[in-house]
Symmetry: C2
């Protein structure tokens, strides 16, 4: 039904929106073959070769890590706004977003018994501090939340160590998000999780965690896979474990940050937009090269290539480099809130936040008609083996609200099976990145965004039921919700084949 040119009255809870669904299936997408090849050539062995990699190296080497609320991030945003303006892109500006300011401070976790061992650790985002002298307590190691409940009587006054197995990011990240709350419920004084990663060289992996309202807040941090396993072995031998945890973390009032926006304004329908995006903020460890410098910079590359090739499409292609993603998608949610009244003009939302390794194609959330069109566009990428379209039920954090409201959404499908080796750790640096892989990802990203923006009609989309405002507000913590977890697992299942 969505294949025909009908105007549908779509009630969005607070406004009435017109969605244009056109006979785009009749449009000959193969006519873009030449443009697609020019884009690919320009990126793989033309003037834009390695440009996104080199830009990202310059950027991450200059600014290092860029946590929300830090001066580093704001300097990085200033630099981007200046650089995008100098490039001559359209409508370059920042859009204000209030973001959390969590500051790690000095921290340590030391095993005192059965032997002295200073553990590699990282406090989890939003954790409170310990008292200045730290918390020294005996330890209970558990493998699961279920085991914690079964052993609740032993937990009081203890530091809980979760030695949870890495099953998948989506499933296992629950221990990072809810570990402190579950430990507090049974009377623990602090909690430590095994870092959420399938592979470790004694590397702690941080991330945001959520205190549940009404449950006592206790300090929480991650330790390494290696140490979590060792503590568990020691406990199984009947040894008494004692740990001293010191954390000086601070949760300051929210501060102003900015989403970074630039465009190639559309030649025919400038008000209609295709969003290409990634987040500019990062964790405060590593350099945020993979998460998500890569995604942000291939999105920037889309605009640069379109400009360099004078390929001005009918619709606007808009770059958004999100802020405050790592704390739960603050930039993406603020942007949705500010622009949802124009949702009918949002043609396609694209976000790359799961690596820019060798691409296969895209993850797509959209209806059958849109899927058919997207597959035809991907067929233009046969020469770089990126024609795979994997349907998903949800896309990335910062575009999640749009996709949930019915706007077709895209994530980049790429060979990211080692993504969680580096994720949220000091290992997230340019060494993970590869210029050739970034060229390929930028080619996929540019061809998809450009062709969708230049089609005669907007992508078809299903009529959405009136959606619930409260439900979308909840999406502020989208990254931490089941939905995004499922998406990540769907992507990985495809890539790893497990």
């Amino acid at each position: 039904m969505e294949l025909f040119n009908i105007h549908v009255l779509l009630t969005l809870g607070y406004s009435i929106v017109l969605v244009h669904s056109s006979p785009v299936l009749q449009e000959d997408i193969t006519k873009y073959k030449d443009a697609a090849n020019r884009i690919i050539h320009h990126l793989l062995d033309g003037p834009a070769q390695n440009q996104s990699y080199n830009r990202l190296a310059t950027f991450t080497d200059k600014f290092g890590s860029r946590i929300a609320g830090s001066e580093y991030l704001e300097h990085a945003i200033d630099y981007m706004l200046d650089t995008l303006s100098k490039e001559g892109l359209d409508n370059v500006h920042g859009e204000n977003v209030m973001v959390p300011q969590w500051v790690r401070g000095k921290e340590s976790a030391t095993l005192l018994s059965p032997r002295n061992h200073k553990m590699a650790m990282l406090g989890l985002g939003s954790s409170i501090a310990t008292p200045p002298a730290g918390i020294t307590a005996d330890v209970l190691v558990v493998s699961t939340f279920k085991e914690l409940k079964q052993r609740a009587a032993e937990a009081k006054g203890k530091i809980i160590v979760y030695n949870e197995k890495f099953v998948s990011y989506g499933e296992t990240v629950a221990y990072r998000q809810q570990g402190a709350t579950e430990a507090a419920k049974v009377g623990a004084v602090a909690s430590l999780i095994r870092s959420v990663t399938p592979f470790s060289i004694n590397s702690p992996h941080t991330g945001w965690q959520d205190y549940t309202p009404g449950v006592k807040k206790i300090p929480t941090a991650c330790i390494t896979v290696e140490d979590a396993e060792m503590l568990h072995r020691m406990q199984k031998r009947g040894e008494k474990l004692t740990i001293r945890l010191k954390m000086n973390a601070k949760n300051n009032p929210y501060v102003k940050s900015r989403n970074t926006v630039a465009e190639i304004t559309g030649s025919v329908y400038p008000e209609q937009v295709v969003i290409v995006s990634g987040h500019l903020d990062s964790w405060d460890v590593g350099q945020g090269a993979m998460d998500d410098g890569g995604g942000a910079f291939i999105s920037w590359q889309v605009l640069s290539v379109i400009k360099q090739l004078n390929l001005r499409p009918k619709r606007t292609v808009r770059l958004v480099m999100w802020t405050g993603e790592e704390e739960g998608g603050f930039g993406g949610q603020a942007y949705f809130n500010a622009h949802k009244k124009n949702i009918s003009n949002f043609n396609l939302v694209m976000e790359s936040d799961m690596g820019v390794f060798t691409p296969y194609g895209i993850n797509f959330k959209g209806n059958t008609a849109a899927t058919t069109i997207m597959q035809q566009i991907l067929n233009l990428l046969g020469s770089i083996n990126s024609t795979t379209l994997e349907k998903v039920t949800a896309v990335g954090t910062d575009i999640g609200s749009w996709a949930k409201a019915g706007v077709p959404g895209v994530s980049l499908l790429n060979r990211n099976e080692k993504y969680f080796y580096f994720h949220h750790s000091n290992g997230d640096t340019m060494t993970v990145m590869d210029p050739k892989q970034m060229n390929l990802c930028a080619a996929v990203w540019t061809v998809v965004a450009y062709v969708v923006a230049d089609l005669d009609s907007m992508l078809p989309r299903d009529i959405q039921p009136p959606y619930n405002e409260a439900e979308i507000q909840q999406d502020k913590r989208f990254k931490n919700s089941d939905e995004i977890s499922r998406t990540v697992d769907e992507i990985l299942k495809f890539v790893i084949g497990t």
Copy 2:
């Protein structure tokens, strides 16, 4: 010629030794099929299943890292002597060895310009300290020694950073061993190497380094692959780099340590021995589970299995857990010096110090006749796919002098392509180890040692020319010599297939 039962007068420079070469090729090695199968079954699904892994976990969890000269190592040796005695093994004792005592102390390396960045680092073994306030100097990054020589005029007063590519351990480790000396020759005040590893999660990898007599000693440390690459990119952009290096390392006088020895005394020729070995000492980071707890503990397992199965062989099987290996094979060299007068009784020397991952078979250094016999023994391991014999020109550090003098030598051939991911880093822990893989390695090790020890005759070996005492003394630094480097590369070439 060596196939027949002849007694050959072998001059060893200082003594006359009788080497027994017997018609062992006529011996029916297939008669050991039952014994081999019993050993394999006992380790894979019998009473010794996972024993070496569990013993190693208990040991490393209890003692942690065990650098030569530390109380941790001496406590670990006491524990081993006690445990081996309680097990009822024969002739359990320590043999004194003087070893270096290098103490790391507090250390840091901070990039001050173009931006402030605290780098992960580890001082290299034997490095001197910086002055208490550290050394703050501008930086010259080079890729090779050749480039350093070409840019010698720029090096004076600088901190040299080597961003050498990882080609192979054998080739690339030269930058760790000689980096400080080469930097000092051109007037540098300190040197930093990129860690010698093919893969990194911001992990520094330490190791011994050698000052060349007559060249000024300067402080030296390793940084991560990630930081070395970043510094190089910054320099290429024309940025001025400044680093502050602080190291409080101490080179104390040599102290007494011990090789740990135990036996199953031979039933017919107790004076003739097969050595099974690995080193008990480790670096002062990680827990020395892989390097070389695994090798030492599968060697211990050989004696345990022989005892548990009442398989007393004709010759003595002797376990030696070396000390002071990481500083250059001090334990191995002291043992050779103390026992070389009995070289005619040393039938075979075996050392496992390149991982105990899934085994393929063995590396072997010996003559053609011995090789034929060893291959027949390996054929007993068909059920566990470990029948490969790879000929090498040199074997491990601690048995190198014996092999050089003509005693047949064995290293364990195993799927160790990730060995250098963890080597000499905080990632060398039990998490790298796998109980099933250790069972298999112990099976290879036990079958080979037991059968060789039980054959009617000693393994044939070539007549050695009178060897040069000075040359063998030089072997004290064997680990750092070209010869061991070549061996490592030979092993890896086979395993990785490059």
